[in-house]
């Protein structure tokens, strides 16, 4: 994968600012004192062992989960109980799930036009043109009139990416987008994501695809037990990990 893609512009503008954020599930302290800043245009890969809180962290960013203390500011809007703020942030932030979560009762095209039409109030015709544009970009324009159940996993995930892009989000969140896929399909989804990165999208990506991290990430964040244990520029992170926990994790996932 091309090293060149990493030379992309990262602006000084702050896209996401998380300060002293904590979250509990009942008595269980899942996220502990999280501090991180994401600049616009940055591509961040989050990795860590199962149960370390990676999903919870990125789900807090569009308020699919509520945090209990600290501050999350997305695109200048602080996430509080205010529904208006939440809806504003959600329409700016796209999310791609591990299990795609396409709407099975709608065609691919309808999946992609639904939110623009109802949330952004875009006229149907324009929404359909945008949808076809992004479906072409993820290389499945010919499937537009099928239903999700008729597509392969990799195709479904690319539709899910296109569906998010149709909202013209400024930030994209990915939660293990390839881990429910067969190896052959992983590549087609990763290619789509790399292309997106090359266009300067701000991306936060939970993934164990270390090749992807090395190719496009500006920064890799390693989490364990609800905390950020280490973060670094990818080459340093992989070649020269600092903490024992990181070394162990890397030896496990790269070792075989």
């Amino acid at each position: 994968m091309a090293e060149a893609s990493k030379k992309m512009v990262v602006s000084d503008e702050v896209a996401i600012q998380i300060t002293a954020m904590n979250k509990w599930y009942g008595q269980f302290h899942v996220l502990r004192d999280i501090n991180m800043t994401v600049q616009r245009g940055e591509r961040i890969v989050i990795c860590g062992p199962s149960g370390s809180g990676k999903s919870t962290l990125i789900r807090c960013i569009n308020r699919l989960e509520e945090h209990q203390s600290g501050q999350i500011i997305v695109d200048g809007t602080e996430l509080t109980n205010d529904i208006k703020n939440i809806d504003k942030v959600r329409s700016e932030v796209g999310m791609v799930f591990q299990h795609f979560n396409l709407f099975p009762h709608l065609t691919i095209l309808e999946n992609c036009t639904l939110a623009p039409i109802w949330v952004r109030k875009v006229p149907r015709k324009e929404a359909e043109e945008t949808a076809m544009h992004y479906l072409t970009k993820v290389k499945i324009p010919d499937q537009a009139h099928k239903y999700p159940g008729q597509l392969s996993g990799g195709q479904q995930q690319r539709v899910a990416i296109a569906r998010s892009l149709c909202m013209k989000p400024r930030i994209m969140l990915f939660d293990e987008p390839t881990s429910a896929l067969d190896p052959e399909m992983i590549k087609e989804v990763l290619d789509t994501m790399i292309q997106l990165a090359e266009e300067g999208m701000t991306m936060l990506c939970v993934t164990h695809e270390m090749g992807f991290a090395q190719a496009v990430a500006n920064r890799v964040i390693f989490m364990d037990k609800g905390q950020i244990v280490e973060q670094n520029e990818p080459r340093e992170f992989f070649n020269n990990p600092q903490s024992e926990r990181t070394k162990l994790f890397l030896s496990q996932i790269l070792g075989h």
Binding site: R90, F97, N101, H105, L114, A115, W118, G149
Partner: protein
């Protein structure tokens, strides 16, 4: 030892599947005589069917269609088939079919419920096939033809036939040019049907409709600043004020100025299948939206709405329908402002709606629970608000899953309409039959009316069940 190496040099072309055995003999062998036990069971079942048929078929063969009394029937059967023979006397149905259909509804006004029935089928078309011209036209044309035949058969005067046909032709024009507009007929149909069936001044129906318009307007207005739920509440209160204290004086003035209307038919005279359909169809169409709201309320995070919904659902599922029917008969009057003359049929319809909504709510809740959490999350992540997510993502899927349960509830509900006999209404099964048998000529008649009424109920319920299966197939998009 030979080398394990294997290399395929030429790829195999795909072949059609083998033809296999076909035909009746194969089907019989596979399905009925696949083992000794199955063969024995098949033979036993055949014997049982033959045994039953040996009683029923001769009985049916002795049918008498022309007679003016039960005694005459018996004589005819005895004359043709011997003194021991028994047989059904369908003559009673031939003579009294109109009471089975309409109860004691005045003969001269039969055109009104009949036209209402045709309008109902037309107003169903946008629900079943929204915006599709072909089915809308098909239904409208078919219904016009059937309506003309029925009206002529019922001996309607020409003036009313022309009037009804004119209405149908107007609807045909709408169906041909703008089938989506037919949805307006669907919205107005309850008021049109109410006016056609009960009669009285047209202003009563218009006034009731005005209450709903007021509700919708207030809701729209209040919803912006205060939210959907508060808006609906305020709208309901304002509409209730209109219905209870303003409507009668306003419509009274209008009726005095413009005395348009139809002869009034008292509820005591509305009976037979007309009554069953009025109660059944109103309850079916109203209980679905109310059931959806109750199901959402039960899953709501807001404690007040949650507990109200749970209380409502559990209470009405916990009491027998007969109890709420008696309550409609006696209790409901105490809760209404004094001197409101609230029709018994309307009261019964209201309690049946409430009762059915509780069941539908639970069926839909099952459908909601079956949806994966990811659907809610994806809707949230795209920025859809609660009502948009419910309407566009959650409900279409939950309702689809619930179709078999919903239709079962509807079928049960339709059959339960016969229970209204217990509060003195003239249902087709007991009410009309009792009237027919109280005639000296037909005293002692037993099977015939029940078979006839049962047959019609079966036809209606069976059609509902087939339609639900068609709907399930049509909506199947998940390809799992």
């Amino acid at each position: 030892m030979a080398s394990p190496l294997f290399v395929r040099n030429d790829m195999l072309p795909p072949l059609p599947p083998p033809a296999g055995e076909r035909g009746v003999v194969k089907w019989l062998r596979e399905n009925l005589f696949s083992s000794v036990l199955n063969s024995v069971l098949t033979l036993l079942a055949c014997l049982a069917v033959l045994w039953l048929a040996s009683f029923i078929l001769p009985w049916l063969a002795h049918s008498v269609w022309n007679a003016s009394s039960l005694a005459e029937c018996r004589e005819k059967i005895a004359a043709s088939f011997g003194p021991e023979a028994a047989g059904p006397c369908w003559a009673v149905i031939r003579l009294r079919w109109n009471q089975f259909l309409f109860g004691l509804y005045p003969q001269a006004e039969y055109w009104r419920p009949t036209t209402a029935a045709a309008l109902m089928m037309v107003s169903l078309s946008p629900v079943l096939y929204y915006g599709l011209r072909r089915p809308a036209l098909n239904i409208t044309v078919t219904m016009t033809v059937l309506l003309v035949l029925a009206l002529i058969g019922l001996g309607t005067d020409w003036g009313h036939i022309v009037l009804s046909v004119a209405i149908m032709l107007a609807l045909m024009a709408v169906a041909a040019t703008a089938p989506k507009r037919l949805l307006w007929l669907t919205l107005l149909f309850p008021f049109i049907a109410f006016f056609l069936i009960w009669g009285g001044p047209i202003w009563t129906a218009v006034g009731t409709l005005a209450g709903f318009v007021i509700f919708a307007l207030v809701w729209q207005f209040v919803q912006k600043p205060l939210g959907v739920v508060v808006g609906a509440g305020v709208g309901l209160v304002v509409a209730a004020i209109w219905w209870t204290s303003l409507q009668s004086s306003v419509t009274g003035v209008l009726a005095a100025a413009l005395p348009w209307g139809l002869p009034y038919v008292v509820s005591d005279n509305i009976g037979g299948f007309l009554l069953a359909f009025v109660i059944g169809i109103t309850a079916i169409s109203a209980s679905l939206p109310i059931g959806v709201l109750l199901a959402l309320g039960r899953r709501s995070d807001m404690p007040l709405i949650h507990s109200l919904s749970v209380g409502f659902i559990e209470f009405f599922r916990g009491v027998p329908l007969i109890t709420v029917l008696f309550a409609a008969n006696f209790l409901l009057l105490y809760f209404l402002p004094p001197r409101t003359n609230f029709d018994l049929i309307l009261r019964v319809i209201i309690v049946v709606i409430i009762f059915a909504s509780a069941y539908i709510a639970e069926v839909i809740r099952g459908g909601l629970a079956a949806l994966p959490r990811g659907q809610y999350e994806a809707a949230d992540a795209l920025g859809l608000d609660y009502w948009q997510a419910q309407r566009l993502i959650i409900m279409p899927q939950a309702l689809k899953i619930s179709i078999p349960g919903i239709v079962s509830s509807f079928i049960g509900l339709f059959k339960d309409t016969t229970l209204v006999a217990l509060v003195g209404l003239m249902d087709p099964l007991q009410g009309v039959t009792k009237i027919v048998r109280s005639d000296n000529a037909w005293k002692g008649l037993y099977w015939e009316p029940y078979i006839f009424v049962g047959g019609i109920f079966f036809l209606v319920c069976f059609s509902m069940s087939r339609y639900s299966m068609y709907l399930e197939r049509k909506l199947k998009t998940d390809h799992r």
